[in-house]
Amino acid sequence: MTSADRSTHPESGTHVVGRRRFLGYVLAASTLVAAAELGAAPEAEAGIPSPEPTELLDLNDVMTAAALPTSDLITVEVHTDGTVSFALPRAEVGQGITTSTAMLIAEEMDVPLERVRVTLADARPELLFNQLTGASNTTISTYRPIRVAAAVARGRLLQAAAVELGAVVTDLTLKAGVVTDLAGRSIGIGALAEKAASVRTQQVAVELKPRADFTVIGTPRNRIDALAAVTGRKKFTMDLDIPDARPTMVCRPPTINGTVGSVSNLDEVRAMPGVTDAVVISTGVAVRAETFGQCIDAVRALRVVWRPGTAEGQSDESVLEDLRAAELPLGLPPLTPSVEGKFTFSFRGNSALEPNCAIADVRDDRADVWASLKSPIVAQETIAARLGLPAHAVTVHVAQGGGSFGRKLFFDAALEAAETSQKMGKPVKLMWHRADDCRQGRAHPMATSRVRISYLGNTVLGYQQRHTSVATDLSHGLGEVFTALAARLPVGDAGFSETFFQLSQSMPYDFGVSSRLLSETNKDFNTGSMRNVYSPDVTCARELVVDRLAAKTGKDPFRFRRAFLHDDRSRAVLDKVAEVGDWGRTMPAGTAQGIAFHSEYHSVSAALVEIDCRPETVNRPVRDGVAGPRVTKAVFAVDVGLAVNPRGLEAQMMGGVMDGIAQTLTSSLHLRDGYFLEASWDNYFYTRQWNTPPELEIIVMPTTTGEPGGAGELGVAASMAAVACAYGRATGTMPTRFPINHGTLSFTPKPTVPPIPPSPTDGLDHAY
C-alpha cells in the first residue's frame, strides 16, 4: 500500500524536493490508457509544469503534437474488469520478462500481480531499434519507461477516484487495485477505467515509487505463465490455430546451404497421401500436407539433385587452418615472466527445443506472419522485400517462444514460410525437422582464443587476448532495418562485430596494460551468437590462464583473483561462492573445485564447481549419451544491482550453469565434408539429467546499485570457466580444446539423403 502522495501533476513542488520526475502521457481513449516513451523516459525538470495545449498555436500543431510523441509509446491500459494490460515490445522465450514486466506494473500501480496481463507486441517499425530482444537488455531498457506509464495510470485513477468519492487525492490510498478514502469508502480500478480515460492526449509528469516502498519488485515471484505451461495450455507458434495453415516442411540439401538443381518426382510426391502442395523454394523443396507425419514421409520421398553449398568440402580441420591464418599477433615476447594459453572452441548448435518454425498467410496485397522473433522489425522489412510487398502490408505477430539462446534473433523459418505461402498461394504452418535444425540451422562459430599475462613478482604487468572466430552473423543489427543493412556491408559488418566485441568484453582484474582484439574469418556458415555471444569462450580462456598464473606464482586461485578484482561488488560475489562452496576443502584425487568470475551487463557473477573426473564416474554407462566427468556441485553468486524477480533470476543462472557445463564437457557440432554430423539431441550432447549437478545453489546478492542489470545470458561465462578450471585442477592438465570430448565422436552420424530420419514405429516397446 502506498498513500497518494505521488500526485500526477506537479503542484507546489514542496513535497517533491530531491525527487526525480519523469514525463509520461495519458492517451485519448475510451478507457484509461497511460503511456511512456520507450528508451530514455525524459526526466521532467523540477518546477517546470507540463506543456499545456494552450501553448500550441493551431489545430495542426495540436495534431502534430498529439501524433509525434505517441507514435513510439508503450502503453498500460486499464480495463473495466479491473485488469491491466500491457503489450511488451520484446520476445518472451523463457527468460521471464513477461513476469518481471507484470511485476513492475503491479508495483507501480498497486494492483495485484495476477491482474496484470502482459502480451507480446506485433512488430512496430516506429520503435526503430527499440524492439530488439538481446544483449540481456530488456529489463535495463524498460525498467523506467514501464514504471512511468504505470505511474501515470495510477495518478489518473486516483484523480478519477477523488471525483467519484468527493475526496482530495492526498486523502486516498490505492491498495490491491482498490482506492479507499479516509472514511473507508472505496472504488475498484475497474469501475474507474472509463472515468479515468482522457478525451485528449496530454503529457504529465510523475514521480516513481521509491525503492524503500517496494513490495513487489525484489520479491521472489513465480512465472505468470507457469500454470499455462504445466497444463499444456501455453500456446507456441505451432500450437496456434490459423485457418487453413497446414503443416509444411522442407526437404533440405545434404550440405550447408546447398540449393536445388532439379527434382525428378514432384508430381509423384504431390499425389502422396495428405500432400496438398510441393514447390521448389530458395532453401529446398517445400511440401504441405494435412499432417506433419505426411510431410516427413513426403520429404523423404523427394528425389532431388542438389547444387553445392557454401561450405563445400570444409571440415573442423580446414576451418581451424582458416582461424590460424587469421590470428592476430600477441606481440613480441615480454621481457618479464609470462604465462600463455591457446584454446580452441568448436562449433556449437544454438537450437532451442522448439525448432525453427513459423506460420505465414500471404495474400496478393498483404501478409501475416506468426513466429517467436527477437528482431521482428527487421523480419518484417526483410519478409516484405522478399514478397514484393510494402512493409506496412506485412503484419508480424510475435508468438511465445520455446527457447532462443540466440537462435530467435534470426527469422529463417519466418522468411521461408512467407516465401512458401506466396508460392503455394495458401497459408502454411512451417516447421523444421530436428535434423534440419541441427544441420542447416545456425551455429555458434568455431573460435580460438590466445591469452598472455605478463608479471613481475606480485604485480601483473599486462594482459593480452586475441580472439579469432569464424564470422558471427550479427546482421539482425540492433533490430532496426537501417542498422541491419549497414551490418551487411563487408566493412560495416566487420566494424560492427569488433564494436560489439569491445563493448561486451571487459577486464575485471587489475592486470596492468590490457588489450583484447577480435579477428573474424570465413563467412561460409549460418552462424549466430549463442547465449552470451563471445563471453563464454573469452572468459573461459582468461580464467584458465589466471589459474595457470596463480599456480606458477604459488597462489591460491580464489585468493589470487580476489587480490586483483577491481571492486567491492566483484569481491563480494567471489567471497560468497568461496564461503558457501567451502573453497579449499580437502577432496579425493581425481576430483577438484574450480572457481571463476565474470562481469557484464552491469552485473557481476562468480561460480564455484566441484567436478569428479575419476574413471568410474567418467565411464559410467549411459545409453546413447555422453557421461564423462560429472559436475557434482555448483554454487553461483550473482549481483545484478537490483533483482526485479529473484526467483526468475535464479532460474536464468541455473540455465547458465547447465549451458556452461555443456560447453566445457559435452556439446559441439562436428563439421565434415561441408555439413554438420549432428542431427539429433542424442548426437548433440546438451546437458542431460545425468550431467546435472545433484547439488546446486544460486545466491542472489542483496541490492547494490538499485538499478537492474542484465541477467538472461549472464550465467554462462563464469560457469563454463569454472568447470574448465575445475577439470584442469582435477586432472592436472589444463584443457585447451572445448568441449573436452570433441575429439571422440560418440554417435553414428545419420544419412544426409534423405535429409531427415524416418519416424520410428517401436514406441510401444519403450513404455515405462
Binding site: G232, L353, A651, Q689, H766
Partner: protein, 158 residues
C-alpha cells in the same frame, strides 16, 4: 482411409487416417490436442511424452494403427482428471518450484515424472538420484535441478 478408435483423456475418439500416421500427429494435427510437443520426431527428446494405459510413451513413435479401441491415451491435458482434481500433484509441485522457463518441454517432463514415480512405487521404493539421472527428457533452458526437486516433492503427494 481406415478408421481408428481409442480412448483419449477419458473419451472415445475416432479418426479417419492412415494406419502408419504417428499418434503425435493424430493428436496435434487431427484432434488439435497440442500439449504434447514436437522436439525431434524420433523418440529422443521426449517432449511429446504422454501416457498409454498409465505408462509413459512417446506418440511420435507410435503408428495409430497400433492402438486398440480400449487403449487409454492420456496427454498433459487429461492428467488432472486421472486424480479427479484441477491439477495433478506433480503439476502442483511444478508450480511450487516454479520449474518452467520457456515451458516447451514441461508437459513431457511432467508426464515422464508421473510415470517414473508410479514405476518406483510399483517396485515398492522411493525415487533415487539414479532414477532422476535416467530421465532422458531434454530441457534446453536447463531447469534440470528444479525438475529433480519438483519430482521429489510431487512424489511425496502422489
Amino acid at each position: 482411409m481406415p478408421e481408428h478408435t481409442f480412448r483419449l483423456n477419458g473419451e472415445q475418439v475416432t479418426v479417419d487416417v492412415d494406419d502408419d500416421l504417428r499418434l503425435l500427429w493424430v493428436l496435434r494435427d487431427v484432434l488439435g490436442v497440442t500439449g504434447p510437443k514436437y522436439g525431434c520426431g524420433i523418440n529422443v527428446c521426449k517432449a511429446c511424452t504422454s501416457h498409454l494405459n498409465g505408462k509413459a510413451v512417446n506418440p511420435c513413435a507410435i503408428p495409430v494403427g497400433n492402438l486398440k479401441p480400449t487403449d487409454e491415451v492420456t496427454t498433459i491435458e487429461g492428467l488432472p482428471a486421472t486424480v479427479g482434481a484441477d491439477l495433478h500433484p506433480m503439476q502442483q509441485a511444478w508450480l511450487d518450484h516454479d520449474v518452467a522457463q520457456c515451458g516447451y518441454c514441461q508437459p513431457g517432463q511432467i508426464m515422464a515424472a508421473v510415470a517414473l514415480v508410479r514405476r518406483a512405487a510399483e517396485e515398492g521404493r522411493e525415487i533415487t538420484d539414479a532414477d532422476l539421472d535416467g530421465i532422458r527428457n531434454i530441457c534446453r533452458c536447463g531447469t534440470y535441478f528444479r525438475i529433480r526437486e519438483a519430482i521429489k516433492s510431487g512424489a511425496a503427494n502422489m
